[in-house]
Amino acid sequence: MVSKENIPLQMECTMLFQSNPYMIETVEGLSIKLGRKADDILPIIEQLEQQGILEMLGDEISPLYRYKEPKIIQDIDFAEEVDSI
C-alpha cells in the first residue's frame, strides 16, 4: 500500500498516463519525466497496476507500463439485461 504522503505523486502519474494513453514507459523513464526518484515511483506504479489503471507489458526484468482504458458498458436500460461491449 502506498503511504498517504504519496497521493499527489500517484495522481501525477495517473494524469501523465491518462494524457498520453499510447505512451509506454519504464520506471526509469517515468522518473526522468516526473523528476522523481525511481524508488519513489516504483511502489506507486505497482499500486496503479494493482488498481488496474496501468498494465504491465514486457517481462518482469524490464517491465514497461502503459495506461489501461476503463471498461465501458454502454446503454444499460434500467430494466433490461446488461450487455457488455
Binding site: 482504458e69 454502454q74 446503454d75
Partner: protein
Amino acid sequence: MNENLELLEELQSAYAAKYGFTIWLTDENGETVLPPDGDNELCNVLLNLEQNNIGTKLKPRTQKAWSAHTPVFYDIFPGIYVLTTSISLENTKKYDLFAGFMIEDETQDLLIEQLNATYPDEDIQWGTILVNTPHITPSAKTVWKDWMKKVGKLITQILTETTDSSIFSLQNELFRRGVQERDRSIAHLLHDFFQHKQGIDFLGLAEEQDNSLVVTEVIGEGIDAFQGAPFSPGEGFLGRVFLTGEFAFWENIDKDPRSIFFKRHQFKPKSLLCYPMKQYDGSTKLLFGGNIHKGGFSSSDLEMAKTLGIMLEAHSIIHHLQRENDEQLRRLSSLIEISKLMVAAPDIKRIVYILVDIGLNLVDGTFSCLVLRDIQHDKVKLISRGKATIDIGAYAKDAAARFFDGDSREKQSSTIQVTEDGDRVVECPLFNRGKTVGILSVGISNQSEAQLQEHIHYLETLSIIGGVSLQLAGNEEEQSEEKQVNALFRAIEQFDKEAYAKAVNAANLAGKYAMHLGLDAPVIKEIIHACQLASYTPEFIRDTFPEKRIDLIIKEGKALMEGNTLQWEEASIGGQVVALVMNYIQTESIEAIPKQILGNETVQTFISFVMEFRVVEEEINLDELPTERKIDSVTSTIKEMDLSPREQEVLDLVIQGLNNKEIAQELYISGHTVKNHVTKIFQKLDVPDRAHAISKVYQLKYHSS
C-alpha cells in the same frame, strides 16, 4: 521557597532556645543559608570577633571528615566545640548545619585564661559567659547528637520540598519539547527526562507488533539486555497493564515469580511501574520504569511517571494531528490540480476518465465506476475500473434506479451503500441545475469510519466538480449550433409549410449526394445546414453562425442557380451541391440544369446519382425528419465494427492519414505488426485498400447516424 525558609527559621529559633545554642546553616560552598540565630553568648561573641576565621575553618571543602552523615563535635578553638552535621538532598545538593558553642566540663578556668590571653584588648566577662555556655557531658553528648540527627532529617524534608519546583520546570521543558519540536521522537524525550530525573534507575517502552508486544526502547542501569524482549498481552506485569489499560506499580518484586520474565533477560528490577499510553490510532504503548536498587516508590515518583506518560500521549496525539493536517493539505492541493485539469479538459471522455481514475487514487479504493445518464433515453453508460467483487453491471442498474428516479428533487448528497460482501461503496451524485447526471461510486474496504468520512468529502468535491465540468464540456460538444440550426429550420415550417417541405427534401438529397461524392463529414454537415437554411438571407446566417461557412455555401448556391454572377468552376464544392440540389428540388427535373454547365463532372455525377435515386425513391420515406442528426466521431463507428481493440486503434490512425511507419511509432509496435493489423482490417472490412477502408468507415458512420 519563602514558605520553606520561614519553616527553617522557625525550627532554628525553637531549637536554639531549647538547648541554648546558636544555630546556622550553610550550603556546600560555605555560603550562609540561615544566618546564626540563638542566645549562646560565647558563640555570638566569638562569631563577631572571628567571623572570617570561623568561616574558613568551617568551610566544608577543608573538612573532608564531615562527609559522614552522623553529627560530629568539632573543636573550633581549643576546648570550644561546635556540633555539625552534613545534609545531602536527592538532587545532589549538600548543606551543613551548625550548632554551638559548647565547652568541655571542668575546663572553664583554663578557657578564661586562654580567652583573656587571646583577646587582651576586649573587656569581656568571659567567666559569666562560660557559666551560661552548655557543658559537654557524656549524657548531653548523646542527647545532642540524637537531636542533631532529627533536625538534619527535618531540614532535608523541608529543603526537598523546595526542589519540587525544579521538577515542575523539568516537566514544563519536556512538554514544550514534546509540543514544539516535531521531529523529536519519543525515545529522545525519554532520554531528556531520564537525564534529569533521580529516583528511577531505568525507563523503557514496549509497543505492539503483530499481535504481541516488544520492548523497543530501554534507558538506564542493568536493562540493556531487555531491549527487544517480546511478550504477549496478559503476560507478566507489563502484559497485564496492556490488558487492563490502567496504570499500575509493584514493589519488592525481586522475589515475585512473575519477575522470572525479566531475569531471563538478565534484568533484575526490584520495583516496577507501568503506564499504558493510548495512541490516536487505537493502539497502546507501554511506558515502564523502576528501580534495581530500591524496592519501592515515593508518591512523587509515581505521579512523575504518570505525568511523563500523559505527556508522551499528548506528544503522540499532537504529532498525529499535525501529520494528518499535512496530509489533508497535500490532498487538497492535489484536488485543486485535478479540478484545474478537469475544467480545462478538452472532452467528456477525458473528464470521465479523470473521475474514475482519480476517484480510485484519492481513497485507495477497490474499484470505481461512473454511471452516466443519457437524459433523452432512459439508459445509462457505465465506465468502470478496478476489481469489483460485485457484478458491476447489475450494480450500475441498481444505483441508477436509486438516483435517477425522475423526481425533480433528486438526491444530491452522497450515500454509503453496503454490498452483499460487506464492502462499502461511496456513491456521490454528479449534478447540475438540480438534475442528477451521473453517479461516481468508489468501493472501499478495510478502512476506519474516520477515514471513510474523510474520503466521502473528497469524493463529493470531486463529483461536484465533475458534474459541472461535464456540463461545460457538454455544452461545447453537445452541438449547440446543431440545435440552433434545427430551431431555425423548424421555424420555417411555422410560416411557410411548402418551403419547409422542400428544404427537408433538399437537405435529404444533398446529404446523400455529398456522401456519394465522398466528402468530409464536416463539409457534408455544412451542406445539409445550407439546404435547411436556404430560405434565410446569407447575411442573417452569417450573423447567426459567424464561425461557419453556411452563409457562403448558400450565397454561392444561389449565385450558381442564377447562373450569371459566378462561374461554376470558381464555386466551392458545397456551393455546387447546394445549387444542383435546390435547382432539382424546385423544378423537380434534371432537365432544368443549365446547358452550359452540363459538361462539368460534378453535374454529370449528380445527374446519374439522381437517376439512381429516383429508382429507389419509393422506398425512402422523405417525411422522416432528419432532425437531431448527429454525426458521431469516427471512433465510435470503429468501435462498432468487429475488430480487435488493437485493430481499432490502427484503423483510427489509418483514417487520420498515418502511414504504416508512423502508426508503428505511435503505437510502439513494429512496422511488420502494423502491416499484419492493416491486412486483417482489410479482410474484415472486405476492402482492397486504405482508401476504400476509410470510405467504408464514413459510409457506416453516416448510415448509423
